[in-house]
């Protein structure tokens, strides 16, 4: 039983990180109907920023956290303005290809600048695992789950109660109508990207604490899995991303623990395929009909 609980906690840990990343995907998709392939690579940007700031500049941890978040937001906003904004009225296939291009560009630039040799993540907490009941839970695990949960609650409040949140919801419901109502859609969209990337920035720190090697391709697999999580929960729906992330994390950990680790990748893609086939709008999503 303890073993199972431990595996469950492992799943929650991984799932929380997926959820944080998935939130970025889902918010962006909700507002501009774009799968931002490059979102996972923002994680990598955050990680390398931490490497530079800590090892080369020797800055203290709290400063690094803030700067990492700012850097991720900067990247996200710049990418949005330069690569995605001009294509807002183009066919979707163009935006999708551009997003793939941006992701490739980020990864290969990183390869060029930082070399492919993995670097250690410079931040770590050398705190003994906490013992609760009969369970030993790592400090990082507790931190990750707690921080993610807090952020999700804050995000929900932001979207539901604040003016900015209202604008975001309006633009994602009806782009044109929102404009007609006087909402500055460009600012709102940029703001959405910024929030998504800020979450990814925090996610990169939590990720680095758990998996402390940094390489240029760090973001692609978690990015893909987080995207699947967003689709699973219902893309465009914020609680859906959270739910999807947790389910993905649990599915992955439990498959690795009890079935086969080979299969965990297949299970992940399998979940994606099953969801897309039977309920493409996701667990919490509503069916959208094409107007004929």
């Amino acid at each position: 039983m303890t073993l199972f609980l431990n595996q469950l906690i492992n799943g929650l840990h991984v799932g929380s990180i997926y959820a944080l990343i998935a939130l970025g995907y889902t918010m962006v998709y909700g507002i501009v109907r774009l799968i931002n392939f490059a979102h996972g690579d923002i994680l990598m940007v955050g990680a390398y920023t931490a490497v530079i700031l800590t090892t080369m500049l020797g800055l203290p941890f709290p400063v690094v956290v803030i700067l990492v978040i700012l850097m991720c937001v900067l990247f996200g906003v710049v990418i949005e303005r330069v690569a995605y904004k001009p294509l807002r009225s183009s066919p979707r296939i163009s935006s999708l290809i551009t997003a793939i291009g941006v992701s490739m560009l980020l990864q290969n630039l990183a390869l060029l600048i930082f070399s492919p040799t993995p670097k250690p993540y410079p931040i770590s907490f050398n705190i003994k695992p906490l013992t609760i009941g009969g369970l030993q839970i790592g400090f990082t695990t507790v931190l990750t789950i707690a921080v993610s949960a807090l952020l999700m609650v804050l995000l929900q409040i932001l979207v539901a109660k604040s003016r900015a949140g209202k604008s975001m919801r309006a633009v994602s419901e009806d782009y044109d109508a929102a404009q007609l109502m006087g909402i500055n859609v460009n600012t709102t969209i940029t703001f959405t990207f910024a929030i998504g990337c800020a979450l990814a920035g925090i996610g990169s720190i939590l990720y680095g604490l758990a998996y402390p090697t940094v390489s240029p391709t760090l973001g692609s697999l978690p990015g893909l899995k987080a995207f699947i999580a967003a689709v699973l929960g219902g893309i465009g729906i914020i609680p859906g991303a959270m739910l999807g992330g947790l389910i993905m994390g649990l599915a992955e950990s439990l498959t690795k623990a009890y079935i086969s680790s080979q299969l965990s990748d297949a299970v992940v893609y399998g979940i994606l395929i099953v969801v897309l086939l039977f309920k493409p709008s996701g667990l919490l999503g509503r069916r959208m009909r094409e107007k004929v």
Partner: protein, 622 residues
């Protein structure tokens, strides 16, 4: 010989010269194995890009798992040549075809679920499937698992003791397979099957409504692309001599996608040029290999921002058209008998005066809890013109969508020419005798006016894809037939001189006419027109009224018409149904409807009403 024929012959000769020169250079060793390796790799890359173009360019869907098909073909072919104990020259074609078929099977199995989705979702699901294929291959012991397969017979060594001669054979095999593949895709794209696929890309809803079985053709295109990728994979395996599952991951799919996008999705010539450049260039720039991927990704982004149609857009190089002309000349020369022109089969509907051609009984549909339409009883008699009017949101287009199978009714029955058509897919309903136009004009924009019409003849033609590829007499006789018919049709609408203009280049009014013309080309008994006068001025509206009357008499169709333009409705309809909040609130001749207080109230919300001939301006949405 006229100019066109001359240029074709020149082009064919150029192709042959290139082949002979290159193979001689290789067989004499002037081009060493390094160069011949590059040529072989280029040929295979071209095949992969061109096959991906069938899905991405022709069908218009982004597929991100294409390398998976290549790996299935590669492994299948390699396993076959490894286990068959016959001469390699015999084993290789068997292996290649088997590889292609295995990949095609995968394409079919994946396509069936995947093609139900569109756009982003389709892209992601194909990515998922591609990765699953890779994981499976990595874990099977028959494919060597993590170590992969090695010591596969190589074409550059198997055909002769002399490596140069064997390499020349390898080059020949790859070259001619590539040429056949390209020519097949090119000619198929210009046959009725290609037209069907392109029409799906342009406007899937309209294609389905014009009688194209869209699900079948999407699968067809996808499976065909997989088949070609499988053959390319088999050739790859026997060029390089060893396989590892990791080679065929997401990154490889992206490499080929880059080639297709940069060359121009939909342009075979573009794919050829960009593949050749993107394979050969890194070899020239070996010193800068780290920059290669950075440059590719930048190119991708810049292309999408500034030239999304790619290098060549959708245009083709005339060399490929030479295939057609050669075939024709060859047949003439060999004196092969030509078939007489085959006119498309024109179904005759067995109806007499005053019989009911379309009838609905208690038709209704609810979306969730909302009843969008309820208790609809409509009757349409032979050769009648009937109007369907009502305020915005009344459910008029919903009724059309029910009649054409876009929505499935949750209650009631639809009877067309005595046959219940509930549950039939749209294209089948079209085949059974209903055609429609749409509120927002749905034309196949990049096709010419004539081609838009030709799509409608699809269901009444018979020649197979093979006929389309080899351009045999079945193909030419049928194509000639529909060409005549299509032009006849255009003449009725005074559009025969714009036959070759791109559909989206027409002025608005003519686009409407084209849509109606295309609907008529489906040879329906019932024609549904959804707000045909939208956006027209009074003069155009008058012309439309004349056109509709002409249609009814010339083509003997019953017409059901949704309109807001009261002048048109009152002027042309013999009977009118009025719809409000999903129910029919009135039915009768124009006079009766005009004076019906309920109708007036529904439209204007007040008891006093003056002239019902007042033109109600066309609304933004219906």
């Amino acid at each position: 010989m006229n100019m066109k024929a001359k240029s074709y012959v020149l082009n064919i000769t150029a192709l042959l010269i290139v082949y002979i020169v290159l193979s001689l250079l290789i067989s004499t060793g002037t081009f060493n194995s390094y160069i011949s390796g590059i040529l072989a790799t280029t040929g295979i890359a071209i095949m992969m890009a061109v096959s991906l173009n069938v899905t991405t360019g022709l069908l218009g869907q982004l597929a991100l798992g294409h390398a998976g098909f290549m790996s299935v073909g590669a492994y299948t072919a390699a396993l076959i040549t490894k286990s068959l104990n016959i001469h390699f020259g015999l084993a290789l074609p068997i292996a290649l075809i088997a590889g292609g078929l295995a990949a095609a099977l995968c394409g079919l199995l994946i396509g069936m679920p995947a093609l139900r989705l569109k756009g982003d979702y389709l892209a992601i699901i194909t990515l998922g499937f591609g990765e699953i294929i890779r994981v499976i291959i990595e874990n099977l012991s028959i494919t060597g698992g993590a170590s992969g397969l090695s010591r596969i017979t190589r074409m550059s060594r198997a055909f002769s003791e002399d490596a140069s001669v064997s390499s020349a054979v390898q080059f020949s095999i790859i070259f001619w397979v590539m040429v056949v593949m390209i020519a097949s895709i090119f000619t198929l794209g210009r046959s009725r099957h290609g037209r069907a696929i392109i029409s799906i890309r342009e406007n899937e809803v309209a294609a389905e409504a014009t009688g194209i079985p869209t699900t079948y053709y999407k699968l067809f295109a996808f499976t065909l692309a997989a088949f070609f990728a499988g053959i390319a994979g088999g050739l790859y395996a026997h060029q390089i001599g060893m396989l590892s599952a990791k080679t065929f991951g997401f990154n490889k799919s992206i490499e080929y996608l880059v080639m297709v996008v940069l060359g121009g999705m939909g342009s075979i010539t573009g794919s050829i040029i960009s593949s050749a450049v993107l394979v050969a260039l890194p070899e020239f720039l070996r010193g800068f290999s780290e920059w290669r991927l950075v440059i590719y990704s930048l190119l991708l982004i810049l292309m999408m921002l500034f030239r999304p149609s790619g290098l060549m857009g959708t245009t083709e190089f005339s060399l490929l058209a030479a295939w057609t002309a050669t075939g024709r000349k060859l047949k003439q020369w060999l004196g092969i008998k030509k078939r007489p022109t085959k006119m498309p089969f024109t179904p005759h509907y067995d109806v007499w005066e005053n019989s009911v051609v379309l009838e609905t009984k208690n038709l209704g549909i609810s979306f969730g809890g909302l009843k969008a339409a309820e208790g609809i009883d409509i009757q349409l008699k032979n050769d009648e013109i009937v109007g369907l009017i009502g305020p915005n949101g009344a459910g008029k287009t919903t009724v059309f969508n029910l009649l054409t199978g876009v929505y499935q009714p949750t209650e009631g029955e639809i009877i067309l020419l005595g046959k219940t058509i509930n549950g039939m897919p749209t294209h089948q309903i079209t085949e059974n005798g209903i055609a429609r136009t749409f509120q927002n004009i749905r034309l196949f924009k990049s096709m010419s006016v004539l081609e838009n019409i030709k799509v409608a003849f699809h269901t009444r033609m018979e020649y197979s894809p093979i006929s389309g590829i080899v351009r045999d007499s079945r193909f030419s006789s049928e194509e000639k037939g529909i060409d005549i018919r299509a032009r006849e049709l255009l003449k009725v609408f005074n559009m025969e001189d714009v036959a070759d203009v791109r559909a989206d280049g027409l002025p608005y009014g003519q686009q409407r006419k084209l849509e109606i013309c295309r609907a008529l080309a489906c040879n329906p008994k019932v024609l549904l027109l959804d707000e045909p006068a939208a956006g027209m001025n009074p003069i155009e509206t008058d012309e439309l009224m004349r056109t509709i009357r002409l249609i009814r008499s010339r083509f003997s169709v019953a017409i059901l018409l949704i309109e807001h333009d009261m002048k048109l409705v009152m002027g042309i309809c013999e009977r009118i149904y009025v719809l409000n909040y999903g129910h029919i609130i009135a039915e009768g001749n124009p006079q009766a409807i005009r004076n019906n207080p309920e109708v007036v109230a529904a439209y204007l919300g007040a008891p006093e009403q003056t002239q019902a001939t007042e033109e109600v301006p066309a609304h933004a949405e219906g």
